[in-house]
């Protein structure tokens, strides 16, 4: 187990460095003139351009720029975003918000997705199963932008149950509507997955054996079916956290949450390599950690799998 962990951690480091390099290279290749992008429609005066070019090393070759960036990353100095703010400050403000949003969305997806899926799987072909199938298809087929705008108009503006935009004074409650919108797709997918898995397992041999041994249906479902049915669902939802956070850009925009989505969008627009790479690196880190956790959870759920 320890050997496995060490191996995985080493792989993670390699993946991390490789991924940041690729993202930095991509940003470098699309950047035409970050300073002009920052200045907008107005021209930049020559003395200001000379100053900023030197400050951000914009005229130096790619490998040197990457070197400056990695040096900063290792020494804990992220440097300045091209908009002038310290990247570390931007990260410290934005990440907690996106993390809260992503976790609440994930929680909604897990709780509603699994319980709905189990119920639909147990009553396969029933009214709930049919309606939830129709609804999940609608959700999967609708762009998140449309869902977000409609939910904002209906539940926030018309009904007044929520605020249409981020309101820090409400605390965690301000994330609920955006989290529902964000988590809806994972919820729908998770629910279909659980439902199929439960329905399949209910017809398997070990369930028949268990019921012929005289176990109660409750015990069969809760202990045997659920545990086995959750394996594919855990894999899906586990890796979903990273996806939710990188997908938060649209939701954050609609609900005006000042999280990393907005910063990432701004960074790409301003061709701000260091800012984009810092955000993406952290996203990669989350992907890596969650997939490691999922693999470890696997072994707990399925005793046949042993990491050695």
């Amino acid at each position: 187990m320890t050997a496995y962990l060490i191996r995985r951690l080493l792989q993670m480091m390699l993946t991390f460095v490789g991924a940041t390099f690729i993202v930095y290279a991509l940003m470098f290749s699309i950047a035409s003139d970050p300073l002009q992008a920052l200045a907008g429609d107005k021209p930049l005066n020559p003395s200001q351009r000379a100053q900023l070019t030197a400050q951000y090393h914009l005229d130096e070759p790619f490998i040197k720029q990457y070197g400056y960036y990695m040096k900063g990353l290792v020494t804990g100095k992220f440097g300045r975003a091209i908009s002038g703010r310290q990247i570390a400050d931007v990260m410290a403000e934005a990440w907690p918000r996106t993390l809260q949003l992503g976790l609440i969305a994930l929680l909604i997806a897990i709780v509603l997705g699994i319980s709905g899926g189990v119920y639909a799987g147990l009553r396969r072909g029933g009214a709930f199963d049919q309606t939830s199938l129709a609804l999940t298809l609608v959700v999967i087929g609708t762009p998140i932008f449309v869902i977000g705008t409609v939910f904002q108009s209906v539940f926030a503006v018309e009904l007044g149950w929520f605020r249409p935009s981020y309101a820090p004074e409400l605390g965690i409650a301000t994330y609920i509507l955006p989290a529902i919108v964000l988590g809806l797709l994972s919820l729908a997918t998770g629910m279909r997955l659980t439902r199929t898995s439960v329905a399949e397992n209910l017809r398997s041999d070990y369930v028949r054996t268990a019921s012929s041994k005289g176990l109660t249906r409750r015990r069969i479902v809760a202990v045997h079916v659920l545990r086995n049915s959750l394996i594919p669902v855990v894999t899906f939802l586990g890796t979903e956290l990273g996806g939710l956070m990188s997908g938060a850009m649209v939701t954050e925009g609609i609900f005006n949450i000042p999280g990393i989505g907005g910063r990432l969008f701004q960074g790409i627009r301003l061709e701000d390599g260091p800012l984009v790479v810092t955000i993406v690196s952290l996203l990669i880190l989350i992907y890596l950690v969650t997939s490691l956790l999922v693999d470890l959870l696997y072994a707990v759920l399925d005793p046949r799998i042993r990491h050695g």
Partner: protein
Amino acid sequence: MTKSRLTTPGLLLAAIAVTLLAGCGKKPGAAAPQDLVVSIGIGEPKSLIPSSTTETEGAKVMDALFTSLVDYDKDMRPVDLAAESITTQDNKVWVIKLLPGWTFHNGEPVIADSYINAWNAGAWGPNAHDGNNFFVKIAGYDAMNPTRKGATPTAKKLTGLRKLDDLSFEVTLTSPYVNFKSMLGYTAFLPLPAAAFTDLANNQIDPAFQDAPIGQGPFRMQGKWQHDQLIQTVRYEKYAGAGKPHVAGVDFKIYQTQTTQYQDLLAGQLDIVPQIPLENLSGAIADLGARYKTSPASTIQILAFPTFDPRFSKVEIRRAISKAIDRDEIIQKIFLTSQAPLRSFVSPLVPGYRPNTCGEACVFNPQKARALFNAAGGPAAVKGRIEIAYNVDGGHKPWVDATCNQLRTNLGVECLGNPQPKFAEMLTKAEHKEPMGMFRMGWVFDYPAMENYLWPLYSTHGSSNYYGYSNPQFDHLVEAGDQAATPEAATALYQQAEDLLVRDVPVLPLRYALNSFGHSTRVANVEMDMFFRVKLLDLTAAPN
């Protein structure tokens, strides 16, 4: 299966609902008129240092925290505001006398040094302030701004600034400039308190200053700039200006999109949306009624003909294209009259503006347009196709497509929009003389003067003349106007210069922008100025 398991989703929904209702408890109560705090939607400012605030979002906040030396009367002529007098004999040496009794929000008196220090810091190249270019006319600027890479400035102070006494100073320009007083209304010329500096001699401004700027305006900061969220200000009780605020404070709420601002206005969470986005406009006219308003703003939209593109080298072709565009139809159908047609080369907001200087070339007439076009060679002259380049991040696609449809119908030539990811990329292409067709441009003035359009847009070395128009006679007339003895004499020369543009049609004037704004039922007397700013001193609470 038991009952309890069945109801889990229901229980969770109930739990969410309870949390929500608890969250909704806080509603703004009915405040006394004087205690009203008005919320205004803005985008995240780039900077809150006066000499580095050149975009409209930061300028909205600056207008609350600072008061400029001059304001503009209804004819757009400068009038003294924080200044007692601004006088000159020759338009080259200007004496600025300050009104006594003004104080910064930290108690420091506003003196001549407050202006001199702030302008020196703004003009000093290594600070790389966005407003740096505004000091270029003041003597000593060049020594502070070497353009060669790696060179260090040879001076740290503008030689053209001289303190006369505590409340007056003298500004010497490199050459006479008749519009200098108008220019002083711009954000870059605001003062700074000594508290803003860590090292006065070296023009060093405390990096923390812009998170809580200290001005001498009608409102002062409450707390710090909460990036991407909120900037709160409260009424400054010792404000020395003639007008006083009628509300207790202004909250600038920072939004990523204007659509969310509008949703918040509908939900009663925001008082003023300074610019209602196009997609919400038809809804706004219905939802808000009299609370939806428009007023003139200074942006003009033009289509430029790159001189390096041989397709547009004939002036007849340019005229024909202009005559084939029905400006009014696009404004009604696409912009729902939130913009107005422009048939001159400067905005209607500047002194000296004359309507319809473009004359016949800007009058929609499809028959004449087609005849002119065919006489000049027809579709073959433009190699069978006209293109209009635009930046996709600015919402320009609908009107560019509509313009192309008109050209296709009225001239019988293929026309296509040419989308570019960013405006900066269009500029790069223009610099490298890559053909991309006609391209769109917008221009916002910095201060109301004809010259503020004529020089940057149409002169040979104009900072935004990306299309390469060059007419020595035009350049000469504008320069002569700048050095004229009186504003009236200057206007006459500027108008002669504009008349040359009519002959050459280097660009097509299309539209000028209106502020199209909406407000809540809590506020009244909501008006906006030509710089996209809410007139904060006019705001009052709505009568109950």
